[in-house]
Amino acid sequence: MKNSASRDGVHESSEAADASERESYVLRLYVTGTTAKSVRAIANIKKICEEHLHGRYTLEVIDIYQRPVLAKTEQILAAPTLVKLLPGPLRQFIGDLADTERVLLGLDLRPDREHNNRLGEQK
């Protein structure tokens, strides 16, 4: 309920500027130990989050070597994999997240795209 209310607010303001009005993000990054790809992925996502989601995200980094059961229950196939749990819909990002543009697109963090998307969603 809260989400939809704030979304309406966003629409009315028509400018994606005020961070405090946005939904908070729940992200989970599955990595495999300290491989180069894992390390890169962690660095990349931290950077993206700090730049675009400052103060409204929770990021959990999970090493599937340590918790292999999660690989099965969370349907993890590739590594590293970033899962966006919230806001919906569920999305998986595979790879070391070096392609910032795609990550931002996938996280609905591209201002223009985001706006259009929201318009589309409302219709």
């Binding site: 495999t32 196939l77 595979i94 790879g95």
Partner: protein, 586 residues
């Protein structure tokens, strides 16, 4: 210790170790199973049985060889899988709860995935590794890993990772099955055979003249002998059954016991006792020669002994069969009612050949009859090619023999002339072959029967006339005169002739006997007269002797009287007489 052993095995030039699949027939074709500790590729078109085969590999491994297995599904969820194979009698949930089997459904949705840079499939490895270690799996199935090609955009990464995966599976020492869709030009759509090179099995589902048959072929088996043919296989409620003819185990024990054919005269022809128990009998002949009647007689006799009989009728409905058999004095109704006789009437082209074999095997397994009749076996050719029928029969007969079930097959042949050739394929499978023929002469057709072969018994070499009447089946000696076999009314006429001749002869014989009797009486009378004469003579002789003795006695008495009268002179006189007699003799 264990790893040491393993490396030692790998380095030594020992023959390839194999993992038995437990799938009927497959282990025979592959000479013992799939290569142990290596991945095997199973490819085929959609719906050809890849999933079933690989699942059975795991289930058999878990239940029969105590080798737990991991099934990683990319297409079906755990629930769907369990439901789909439940019809094969596999209880996946029970196996899973006993830690014998682990199902893992890998769900990948292309639309939910965003590629954002370099990655690998370590997640899959972790899952698989965890699954294998959690139950100590020895067998792994990946079904169908090619789905990944559709879900993951970067083929270069995928190929590299698959290569790594198969190597990893080898290192892990698990025997794995990887399934793949059949490609148009290569074995698999994405060329997986390039990575899995140890053993490739191809499954096929072909429709030939509206009848579909599944086939299996071992395309490649590195380091091992394997059957190269295409083998038909079927999916029954017991799983997959491959039918390799080469694997025919001719090691069933042969029974010494005999069973009646239902026709006493036929038993007499078969060494006096009938068929061997557990043997296969073929009765062949053209239309209307009495094949079914002979089969019915066999069944009736068996049921009368209290044995269960299974009758597959591919020509007549049950009620028609009953009516027809009643007309020759065989009432099978009571046996059906008492549950000793079961009929299965269907048109052969109702199902494919494999389905027929399946039904037959199934009923035999469930009902455990001691006798089986398939009437006629030739109708099954409509459901497959002649080669397939022969294959199927080989398999069936093999099974029947192993279970000591006596089987009778009827076979319709096109004409009287080709009768012996047309059965060549089938006849070698049969122990006893009765040939029924129509003999046409004197404006009528008569049935004749002879034993073409009967293994292991001294059987008659004679043609008998086969007479069907309301009293039942009779085998009558045929008459052979002037080099011609006489049957039917010609035989009856000949019989009448012979009979009258015999009567005449008997009359003559009786007359002669009478004459001789008379002669004998006459001689006896003569003997009596002569004996009477002899007796008279003897009497006379005796009388005369007596008289002589009396005369001598009386004269002696007279002499002694005289001597007594003369006194004292007796001695001298007698002395003097003696002297005189002595002088006279000198």
């Amino acid at each position: 210790m264990k790893t040491k052993q393993k490396t030692k095995n790998q380095s030594a030039p020992e023959p390839l170790e194999k993992t038995a699949t437990g799938i009927a027939g497959l282990d025979e074709i592959t000479g013992g199973g799939l290569p142990k500790g290596r991945p095997t590729l199973i490819c085929g078109t959609a719906g050809c049985g890849k999933t079933v085969l690989s699942m059975e590999f795991l289930v058999r491994g878990a239940t029969e060889y105590n080798e737990p297995g991991v099934f990683m599904a990319f297409e079906e969820t755990e629930g769907e899988l369990a439901k789909n194979v439940a019809s094969l009698g596999f209880d996946l949930e029970r196996l899973a709860s006993r830690k014998k089997l682990l199902l893992d459904f890998v769900r990948i949705e292309r639309s939910e995935i965003e590629e954002t840079g370099e990655y690998d499939l370590e997640g899959l490895f972790v899952r698989l590794s965890h699954a294998i270690d959690s139950i100590g799996a020895k067998r792994v199935v990946l079904d169908t890993i090619e789905v990944l090609f559709a879900s993951l955009p970067n083929e270069a990464i995928l190929r590299a990772e698959l290569r790594r995966l198969f190597r990893w599976l080898k290192d892990k020492g698990v025997t794995a099955i990887i399934t793949a869709e059949r490609g148009r030009e290569s074995f698999t759509r994405h060329g997986l055979e390039e990575y899995v090179a140890d053993c490739v099995i191809l499954l096929d589902h072909r429709v030939n003249e509206q009848i579909s048959t599944r086939r299996l072929r071992v395309v490649k088996y590195r380091g091992s002998w394997h059957g190269t043919n295409e083998y038909p296989f079927l999916i029954s409620d017991e799983g997959i059954s491959v039918m390799p003819v080469t694997s025919m185990g001719l090691n069933h024990t042969a029974s010494e016991q005999r069973v009646s054919s239902g026709v006493p005269q036929l038993d007499a022809m078969l060494g006096g006792k009938g068929y061997y128990r557990g043997s296969s009998v073929l009765t062949s002949g053209s239309a209307g020669t009495g094949k079914t009647s002979l089969a019915a007689a066999f069944v009736a006799a068996a049921a009368a002994r209290g044995e269960r009989c299974l009758y597959f009728a591919f020509e007549e409905s049950v009620s028609q069969f009953m009516r027809n058999m009643r007309s020759i004095g065989l009432d099978l109704e009571p046996f059906v009612k008492s549950g000793l006789l079961q009929f299965h009437a269907s048109r052969p082209n109702l199902f494919g050949l494999e389905m027929h074999l399946l039904t037959i095997q199934d009923l035999i397994r469930k009902w455990k009859p001691r006798n089986v009749v398939i009437d006629p076996v030739t109708n099954l050719i409509n459901a497959g090619t002649a080669t397939e029928v022969t294959l199927m029969l080989t398999r069936l007969i093999d099974q029947l023999k192993r279970q000591q079930i006596t089987s009778l097959f009827t076979s319709l042949t096109a004409g009287d002339h080709g009768a012996e050739q047309s059965e060549v394929g089938m006849s070698s499978l049969m122990d006893t072959w009765l040939l029924l023929r129509n003999l046409e002469s004197n404006g009528e057709r008569n049935r004749a029967l002879y034993v073409l072969k009967s293994r292991g018994m001294a059987h008659s070499n004679q043609i008998r006339e086969f007479v069907l009447s309301s009293k039942g089946i009779q085998l009558v000696d045929v008459h052979i005169g002037d080099g011609k076999v006489l049957t039917g009314s010609a035989r009856l006429a000949q019989e009448a002739r012979t009979q009258s001749e015999a009567a005449l002869q008997q009359q003559q014989r009786r007359r002669r006997q009478h004459e001789l009797e008379l002669e004998r009486t006459a001689v006896e009378a003569q003997i009596a007269t002569l004996q009477a004469g002899l007796a008279a003579k003897t009497e006379q002789c005796k009388l005369e002797l007596d008289e002589e003795a009396m005369r001598y006695q009386s004269s002696a008495a007279r002499e002694s009287e005289i001597a007594r009268n003369r006194m004292a002179q007796v001695k001298r006189v007698s002395d003097g007489r003696q002297k005189q007699r002595n002088n006279g003799s000198q």
